[in-house]
């Protein structure tokens, strides 16, 4: 795989601590573009922390610290999310994150979708409409919501909410999509729809998906990584 695909993310001797507790121990690995990497392992072993390191969502946690180096290839340039002086806003727009619980903002479907563009400074209403439509189509949600864009996003079903969150993340065309147990709160039918969606997104970006469901991991993962007690214990392609 490494001969065919470009390297996208490199972890080099990464250690992570919450206060005195070490959560990640000397992680060194590489993730590739256009690949879905499934990260699995028992709870509390550092899987979500590993994702949070990539878009600096651990930044505000008191007493958290990280040692080692992470390099991400964004826009043709290698940058380090651990380095000082990087724009967190830019990093998070290009390294998007989907959470375990679908988290649409309590506003209309249309405003939810337009929100990332608004904060990125896009003001052209025509362009926003086009992008909203394209992202919802990419997430397979357009047909279901096109007539109710002004309704509250909170009225959608669980699976629809999660697809809305994925569409919202896709609207800024991220290069990496981090998914922290994206189907754990959904029924099996809705979970299958999300799985298919994630697999289809490989052509646009690199995906890192945390999951406890081993059957799911085998179904969708091009690479499978196992973490236990903060140590990389398994890796298969």
């Amino acid at each position: 795989m490494s001969t065919q695909l470009k390297k996208k993310i490199i972890f080099d001797g990464v250690n992570f601590f919450y206060g005195q507790r070490q959560v990640l121990c000397d992680i060194s690995t590489t993730f590739y573009s256009h690949t879905l990497t499934a990260i699995t392992g028992p709870s509390g072993q550092g899987k979500s922390t590993m994702l949070a390191l990539l878009n600096c969502m651990w930044d505000d946690i008191p007493h958290a610290r990280c040692a080692g180096d992470i390099q991400i290839l964004l826009g043709g340039q290698w940058i380090s999310p651990l380095g000082k002086g990087i724009s967190l806003a830019h990093l998070r727009r290009k390294v998007a994150m989907i959470f375990q619980e679908p988290n649409p903002l309590p506003m209309s479907i249309n405003k939810n979708m337009a929100f990332p563009l608004k904060i990125a400074g896009v003001r052209d209403k025509h362009l926003i409409e086009q992008k909203v439509c394209a992202a919802l189509e990419q997430a397979g949600l357009w047909a279901e919501v096109k007539d109710r864009l002004d309704e509250s996003a909170l009225n959608l079903s669980g699976g629809q909410k999660q697809r809305l969150c994925i569409a919202r993340a896709l609207i800024l065309e991220p290069e990496i999509l981090l998914c922290d147990e994206p189907t754990s709160s959904l029924d099996s039918q809705a979970a299958r729809v999300i799985e298919e969606l994630l697999v289809s997104l490989k052509k646009n970006c690199a995906l890192l998906v945390v999951s406890h469901d081993l059957a799911q991991v085998r179904r969708i993962g091009d690479q499978i990584m196992t973490l236990a007690k903060g140590v990389l214990t398994g890796w298969c392609e």
Partner: protein, 193 residues
């Protein structure tokens, strides 16, 4: 720093309104001595003093409303690339409007009924409508206080009761308007296309 400021507002919330009135009165005397003989207790000083009186209510209710927002909501905008200011402006404040609005309504009510502060900072029983911010003025709470303590006949006392009803009606209308605005503002902020 956050704890120190919070503690300061708690102390401010505990200060009796007559003390805030005395503070306003001191400011008026200072202006009178150092700037112009014409400057004394006036509408502006009363407004500033009432502002100091209700500031802790507004600060605390805003703080509580923001703290009660769920963690996923706080993280959502951040994960989408919002700066701290954008998160506060576009997500947190619109979603905390109900709580912030309640604090503002409480503050309006407190200002409308307070007598001790205005007693020392510019209200006069027969001043009527003020001609400017630097003029003295007449206010319903003070009129009620004055007429109920100085009435000469039952008719004047009845006027005082009438004034009470007017004050209650004004406060009720203010609350209803504020509540309506709060709902509309919430909908405008979160659902307007």
């Amino acid at each position: 720093m956050q704890k120190a400021v919070g503690g300061l507002f708690d102390v401010l919330a505990g200060i009796p309104s007559i003390v805030v009135g005395l503070y306003g009165f001191s400011v008026a005397i200072f202006r009178h001595h150092h700037f112009s003989d014409r400057l004394g207790p006036c509408l502006l000083i009363s407004a500033l003093s009432l502002g100091v009186l209700v500031l802790p209510y507004i600060v605390r209710s805003t703080q509580t409303a923001l703290q009660e927002l769920p963690l996923p909501m706080r993280n959502t905008a951040t994960a989408l690339g919002a700066t701290r200011l954008q998160n506060i402006t576009y997500v947190l404040i619109p979603n905390a409007l109900a709580g912030i609005g309640s604090g503002v309504i409480l503050a309006i009510g407190r200002c409308a009924e307070d007598t001790a502060v205005i007693l020392l900072t510019g209200v006069v029983a027969t001043a009527g409508v003020p001609s400017s911010l630097l003029a003295q003025y007449e206010a319903l709470p003070f009129y009620i206080y004055y007429i109920s303590s100085q009435y000469a006949n039952p008719a004047e006392l009845s006027n005082g009761y009438g004034a009470c009803l007017v004050l209650l009606a004004i406060c009720s209308i203010l609350f209803i308007v504020a509540h309506g605005m709060q709902k509309r503002l919430y909908h405008w902020a979160l659902y307007r296309r």
